[in-house]
C-alpha cells in the first residue's frame, strides 16, 4: 500500500550522487582552508565570489520560492553597508558586532518597507522595489555625516581593530565571507526541509492550491521578504567593511547587486540551491576571461540571460536535473 512517508527523501542514481557529494565536500574543504593555500589576490576574488553567493541564495529564496521578483534588493545591500558604517563610526560599536546589528536594523526597516511594497503585485512589485531602493539611495546622499553624495571611508583605526596584522585581518575577513556563504546555503536548505519549506514549495508550485490547504500565503511571503532583507543586509555590511569605503552609487547599485545577482541565479537555475552555486562559478569564470572586453562582457551576459529564458528557463542546473542528474541538496519528499 502506498503511504506518504514524510521523512524519506528522493534519491537519484546513487553513484552519481555520491560523486557529486564527494566533489561538493572537496570544494567545501578547499574553501575552508583557502587562507592556507591561496594568494592574496585569489583570496580577494574568493571573498567577492562568496559574498555574491550569499546574495544570490537570498534572491533565489525570495524569487524562486515565493515568486516575489524584486529588482530592488540593492536597497538592503546599501542599507546594510550604511547602517554598518553608522553603527561602527558613530555609535562606537565594535566592528564585528556592528555587522549583525546592521542586519537586524535593516530587518526592522524592511517591515514598513515591505508593507508598502506588498501593495504591488507581480511585475509591479518588481519595479516598486526598485523605486524604494532609489529612495534609499537618494536619502543616503542627504546625510552629510555619512559623506552625503560623495561617500565616506572607514577610519583606519576601526579596520585595525579587527586584527593587528594585515594577514590577520585578511584571515578574519575571509572566514566572515566563508561563514556568510556557507551559512546562506545551509539556512536556505534547512528552511526548505522544515515545515516552512513545505509551505514555500507549495506556494512555488501553485498559490491557489497552497492557499486551499491553509497556507497563509501573504504571511509566509512577508516573513521571507524580511528574512532575505536581513540576509542581504548582513552581506552588504560585510561587503562594505571589505571595501572600506561607501558611496550612495556603489551601495545602491542596481547593476552590481540586482542585475548580476539575478543573472547568476537565473543562469544557474532558479528555485534550486545548486543553481546559484553554479551561477556564481560561471559568472566569475566569465568575468575573469572577459575582463578586458568591458561593455561587451555585459552585452554577452544580457544575451546569455535571454538565451536561458528562450532555451530552458530552468537554468543550467534545472536542465541537468531534468535529464536525470541527482540533486546535491535534497529538499523534496516523495511518495513511496
Amino acid at each position: 500500500m502506498a503511504q506518504l512517508d514524510l521523512l524519506s527523501t528522493s534519491r537519484g542514481p546513487d553513484v552519481t550522487r555520491l560523486a557529486l557529494i564527494g566533489v561538493g565536500l572537496i570544494v567545501f574543504v578547499a574553501l575552508a582552508a583557502a587562507p592556507f593555500w591561496a594568494g592574496r589576490a585569489d583570496l580577494r576574488l574568493l571573498m567577492e565570489a562568496l559574498s555574491f553567493l550569499a546574495l544570490a541564495q537570498m534572491w533565489n529564496l525570495l524569487a524562486g520560492y515565493t515568486g516575489l521578483i524584486s529588482v530592488g534588493q540593492q536597497a538592503y545591500v546599501g542599507l546594510g553597508g550604511y547602517l554598518f558604517f553608522a553603527l561602527a563610526m558613530f555609535a562606537g560599536i565594535p566592528v564585528l558586532w556592528a555587522i549583525p546589528l546592521a542586519a537586524i536594523a535593516a530587518g526592522i526597516i524592511a517591515i514598513p518597507t515591505g508593507w508598502i511594497a506588498f501593495r504591488l503585485q507581480g511585475a509591479y512589485f518588481a519595479i516598486g522595489t526598485w523605486v524604494i531602493a532609489e529612495v534609499f539611495r537618494l536619502i543616503a546622499a542627504q546625510f552629510p555625516a555619512l559623506g552625503g553624495g560623495s561617500g565616506i571611508s572607514l577610519p583606519v583605526a576601526l579596520a585595525r581593530s579587527i586584527a593587528e596584522t594585515r594577514g590577520g585581518r585578511e584571515m578574519v575577513m575571509y572566514y566572515i565571507a566563508f561563514v556568510l556563504a556557507a551559512g546562506a546555503v545551509l539556512a536556505v536548505w534547512l528552511l526548505l526541509r522544515s515545515r516552512w519549506g513545505l509551505a514555500l514549495t507549495a506556494i512555488r508550485d501553485s498559490e491557489p492550491a497552497a492557499a486551499s490547504l491553509g497556507v497563509n500565503i501573504r504571511r509566509v511571503k512577508f516573513f521571507v521578504y524580511v528574512g532575505t532583507a536581513m540576509g542581504t543586509a548582513l552581506t552588504g555590511a560585510f561587503i562594505f567593511l571589505q571595501k572600506l569605503r561607501i558611496t550612495p552609487e556603489a551601495a545602491f547599485s542596481v547593476t552590481e547587486w540586482s542585475t548580476f545577482v539575478i543573472f547568476i541565479v537565473v543562469i544557474g537555475g532558479l528555485g534550486t540551491i545548486e543553481g546559484p552555486i553554479i551561477g556564481v562559478i560561471l559568472f566569475f569564470l566569465l568575468r575573469d576571461l572577459a575582463a578586458d572586453l568591458g561593455t561587451w562582457y555585459l552585452i554577452g551576459l544580457g544575451a546569455l540571460a535571454i538565451a536561458v529564458m528562450l532555451i530552458d528557463r530552468r537554468g543550467i542546473w534545472g536542465a541537468f536535473r531534468a535529464r536525470g542528474l541527482p540533486t546535491l541538496f535534497v529538499t523534496q519528499r516523495t511518495l513511496k
Binding site: G128, V131, V135, L138, T295, W296, G302
Partner: protein, 288 residues
C-alpha cells in the same frame, strides 16, 4: 508668483512623463507584461533622433516621423519574434528578457555613442518663450511638447475606443483566450500593441532628445518615472496616466524648488504616498 511658475513648469514636465507612461501602460494593459527596457527604448529613440538631425541633417519633423516608423517596425518584430515566446502566466521570463535587453541596449549605446551627454539642437524654438505676465514666461518648446503629449494621448484614446484595432486590443486585454476563438491571432495583436506603444515611445524619446541632455544610462530612471505616472493615475485609465504624469512632474518641480537634490526624491515620495493612501491609483477605473 514664484510658486505659480513652479507649478506651470511641473505641469509641462508632467506631459512628457505621461508620454513615457502611455507606452508602458498600453503594453501592460494588453499583455499584462512590464517592459523593464522601456526607459532604454526611449533613450534609443533619442539617439535615433540625434542621428537623423545631426548626422543625416534632416529637418526635426521628418526626423520624428522616421524614428516613429523605425521604432514601430522594431517593436512589431521584437514582440513577434522575441517577447511573444516568453509570455505566459509566469512573470519572470518577460521581466528577465527585458532586463537582459536593457543591459544590452545601454552597453551598445555606450559602445557606439560613448558616455558623453548629448542633445539635439532645435534652433530658436528651444529658447523662445511666451510672456504671460512680467514674472511668468512659458517656454514655447515645453508648451508644444505638452500639447503634443495631450494630442498623442487623445489619439490613443480614439484608437482604443473608436477603431477596429482598438476593439481587438480591448478584447485581448479582457480575455486573451477567447479572442483567438473569434478568429484573431494573438501574437499578431500583441505585436501590433507593441508597435503602437513603440510609436509612442519614439515620440517621447525624440522630445526628450530636444528638451534635455541625455546619455546611455538614463533609461532606467525614465522607466521609473513612467511606472510612477501609471500607478499614480490608476491602471487602465489613459487620461488618469496624463494626470499621474502631471502630479509626478509637479511633485518634482516643488522638490527642486526646495533644494536641487530633492527633485527626484520628491517625485518618488509622492508616488509612495499615493501607493499608501490609494494603492489602486487616484483615478482607477472601477472594475467588475
Amino acid at each position: 508668483m514664484e510658486w505659480i511658475n513652479v507649478l506651470v513648469q511641473g505641469v509641462l514636465l508632467g506631459g512628457l512623463y505621461a508620454l513615457f507612461a502611455a507606452g508602458l501602460s498600453l503594453m501592460f494593459g494588453v499583455m499584462r507584461f512590464i517592459n523593464i527596457a522601456h526607459g532604454d527604448f526611449i533613450v534609443v529613440a533619442a539617439y535615433l533622433m540625434l542621428v537623423m538631425v545631426l548626422t543625416l541633417g534632416l529637418h526635426p519633423v521628418i526626423g520624428i516621423g522616421l524614428v516613429v516608423i523605425l521604432m514601430g517596425c522594431a517593436g512589431y518584430l521584437g514582440q513577434r519574434f522575441l517577447l511573444n515566446r516568453v509570455l505566459d502566466e509566469d512573470i519572470l521570463p518577460p521581466v528577465l528578457v527585458t532586463f537582459g535587453l536593457s543591459i544590452i541596449i545601454q552597453n551598445s549605446l555606450l559602445e557606439t555613442f560613448s558616455a558623453d551627454s548629448q542633445r539635439v539642437p532645435s534652433g530658436d524654438f528651444a529658447t523662445a518663450s511666451l510672456r504671460v505676465s512680467d514674472e511668468l514666461a512659458v517656454g514655447v518648446l515645453p508648451l508644444a511638447m505638452f500639447l503634443a503629449a495631450v494630442g498623442v494621448i487623445g489619439v490613443l484614446q480614439f484608437i482604443f475606443y473608436r477603431t477596429a484595432l482598438g476593439r481587438l486590443l480591448r478584447a485581448t486585454s479582457d480575455d486573451p483566450e477567447i479572442v483567438p476563438l473569434m478568429g484573431a491571432n494573438n501574437s499578431h495583436i500583441f505585436a501590433l500593441a507593441t508597435a503602437l506603444a513603440s510609436g509612442v515611445v519614439a515620440i517621447a524619446g525624440t522630445m526628450l532628445a530636444m528638451k534635455t541632455n541625455f546619455d546611455p544610462t538614463i533609461g532606467p530612471s525614465r522607466l521609473l518615472f513612467a511606472f510612477e505616472a501609471v500607478i499614480i493615475g490608476g491602471m487602465g485609465n489613459i487620461w488618469g496616466t496624463l494626470a499621474g504624469g502631471i502630479i509626478l512632474g509637479v511633485a518634482q518641480a516643488i522638490g527642486a524648488q526646495i533644494d536641487a537634490g530633492y527633485q527626484i526624491l520628491a517625485g518618488h515620495l509622492a508616488f509612495l504616498a499615493v501607493l499608501i493612501v490609494r494603492p489602486k491609483g487616484l483615478f482607477a477605473k472601477a472594475k467588475g
